[in-house]
């Protein structure tokens, strides 16, 4: 006879979105458990680690020192021939942020969930969903090799990019290769770069994506790239692209790697639905990664809070049916969906641009005083210097 546990809310996955959903569910009175398949929250890191701080207040977080590796003054975006657009903190509001230590970051989000009353269980993974009368009622899991039944009124799938929960629940739609970015990164040490900025390189060094250099400390940075899968012809892997890039630049090739990170993200449009009877998805599992940047933390946190608060409401009302869960769909879409769609359209455009167009685009922006980063300000800058280029972007106006 296997062990059996009962909870109001069961969260599958202890990443930032899962922990935040658990935090707000527990805070609002729901008996909540997070299960995490790994033996350590946040490790191994699978992330470039750049994150804005625009969400601190919304997520009621005051202290970010404990997981901050480096504060930056702004971002620098380079075209293939070296034109540079500098975005400062003043221009971007609080969108410019920090480079974090993701393992510490994830553990801090877990701490907040625990302090709100959530339970955590490590090295425990879901094997299958428990389904009764067409409703999901928890999971069968394995914990340290032993079978475990975890019954819950509401299951929250926060199991990331490769979400099994979403697939089991029938919420899975195959992602087209053009909406998949495949990534490889080294943490390089002993390199030379301006440590006060995050750096983004556009163009064919990372087809359809970009190269990033995010400072992590003295002469140390995450140097990585993301490439759209449809831009790969099979002759080179993302690692090959990055190795070539590092070898071609003395400021990087003089350093050495001390960490390797691989992974993929879905840079796709918001899905049709992320809810079924007794179950909802959050974070990367619900495909809320920003399609323009590939960043998933902030949207996951914001959506996690919405999910947790609503989960507690479900518990109070005793309603877990799909119809009732539409309120969750409405709330997170009101908060995130417009921007996700807009950035998806922008990404679709950006992946068609050649190196020459990136040069003109960045050149036309680098010599105007941008006091705010907005699509309109950017387009006005382009119009002034390269009026013929504006046709490329007409459909975005």
């Amino acid at each position: 006879m296997s062990e059996s546990l009962e909870y109001d809310v069961l969260v599958i996955g202890g990443g930032p979105a899962g922990s935040t959903a658990a935090r707000y569910a527990a805070k609002n009175g729901a008996k909540t458990l997070v299960i995490e398949k790994r033996q350590e929250i946040g490790s191994p890191v699978r992330c470039g680690e750049g994150v804005s701080l625009s969400w601190l207040e919304e997520l009621e977080i005051e202290d970010y020192d404990r997981w901050t590796a480096a504060r930056v003054k702004g971002a620098r975006i380079y075209s293939p021939s070296g034109h540079m657009l500098q975005i400062t903190e003043k221009m971007a509001g609080d969108e410019v942020g920090v480079v974090c230590e993701r393992d510490l970051f994830d553990k801090d989000m877990a701490r907040l969930a625990v302090e709100a009353g959530a339970d955590f269980m490590m090295k425990t993974y879901a094997v299958s969903l428990i389904e009764e009368d067409g409703k999901f009622k928890g999971v069968m899991a394995r914990r340290m090799g032993k079978e475990l039944e975890i019954r819950a009124d509401l299951v929250i799938g926060a199991d990331g990019w490769e979400s099994q929960v979403g697939r089991w629940a029938g919420l899975y739609e195959a992602i087209p290769p053009k909406d998949i970015m495949t990534c490889f990164q080294y943490r390089m040490t002993g390199i030379e770069f301006d440590e006060d900025y995050t750096h983004f390189y556009l163009g064919s060094e990372a087809p359809g994506g970009y190269v990033w250099v995010f400072p992590k400390g003295p002469r140390t940075a995450n140097v990585g790239l993301g490439i759209h899968m449809s831009s790969l012809d099979g002759s080179k892997t993302p690692k090959d692209y990055l190795d070539e890039l590092i070898a071609s630049r003395e400021e990087f090739s003089k350093g050495e790697p001390v960490d390797m990170v691989a992974g993929a993200v879905a840079v796709t449009h918001p899905p049709e639905t992320v809810t079924v009877d007794g179950l909802m998805l959050v974070g990367d599992a619900s495909r809320v990664v920003d399609p323009m940047t590939g960043g998933g933390i902030v949207n996951g946190l914001k959506q996690g809070k919405i999910a947790g608060e609503f989960a507690a409401q479900c518990v109070k009302e005793g309603r877990f049916d799909k119809e009732y869960l539409q309120e969750y769909e409405k709330r997170w879409r009101d908060r995130l969906e417009n921007r996700l769609w807009r950035n998806y359209m922008a990404k679709e455009k950006a992946t068609t641009l050649d190196d020459g167009t990136f040069d003109k685009l960045i050149d036309s922006l680098s010599d105007i005083e941008l006091d705010r980063v907005s699509i309109m300000a950017i387009l006005e800058g382009v119009q002034k210097k390269y009026p013929e280029l504006i046709k490329e972007f007409e459909d975005m106006l």
Binding site: R46, F184, T237
Partner: protein
């Protein structure tokens, strides 16, 4: 074509192939990636792998 062969010495267990698989035939385990019989040998896992650890070379 056969099921994908994963070079576990190169594999970083990142899950890129698992999330890409259009028929949900791949599973990320702690020390390996499992492929079940639903696999259609479509090759997307080979293409998405950031480090070239997946190959569909035939038996």
């Amino acid at each position: 074509m056969s099921k994908p062969c994963i070079d576990l010495d190169a594999c970083m267990r990142c899950g890129a192939c698992v999330g890409t698989c259009p028929v949900n035939a791949m599973f990320l385990k702690e020390y390996t990636v499992e492929v079940n019989d639903d696999c259609t040998s479509c090759g997307l896992c080979e293409k998405v792998c950031p480090v070239g650890a997946v190959s569909l070379g035939g038996e």
